[in-house]
Amino acid sequence: MNRLNFLMGMVMTSILSASMTSPSHAADGDYRRGLEKSQVCQSCHGRTGNESLQPSYPKLAGQHEDYLVHALKSYRSGSRQNAVMAGFAGNLSDQDIADLSAWYSRQDGLQDLEVE
């Protein structure tokens, strides 16, 4: 019986940890706060992320939320190197990143490729 309880406990633990680490929960951002925090971003990427100041800057509007989180954390850690973005991302908390990604991912812009 103890063994059964142990096994059940293990199963529940793995289900819980799997749901907690799933990407849909990883970025729990507030898009309204993201807009508030995006003042600096807007100067290059535009309000919705669909108006880049320079063509070498990416559009952000409509990009996948979890990709934006990944990109910002990569700039912050230095695993993705860009002098401009390193300076900005280095000051962001996880919550800032979640909020900003929530804002830009909810705008109209980028499209998926179509498989034919």
Binding site: P58, A71, R80, D112
Partner: protein, 98 residues
Amino acid sequence: MIALMPLSGMAQGDPERGEVIAYTCSGCHGIPFYKNVYPTYSVPKLGGQNQEYLISALKAYREGTRKHATMQAQAATLSDQDILDVTAYFVSIGENGS
């Protein structure tokens, strides 16, 4: 000279040739919500992205200054002309609104 430039302005490269090259890309980027793993995140949308950004990203992968095993391997097979053409195709998707 200006009259000889394509109407789309900034876009260079041949999007029709680029569409052929992009067949491989669509195996990951053409499947909605397709996930990269370790770490897990959705592969980025490319349709309608700025061409100059896409060119710099592909060249950074090709040179190894931007790290991603699959993308480095893919970009290594692309010539400068391939990169121009395939990115012209990605831009055209946004223009068509499809």
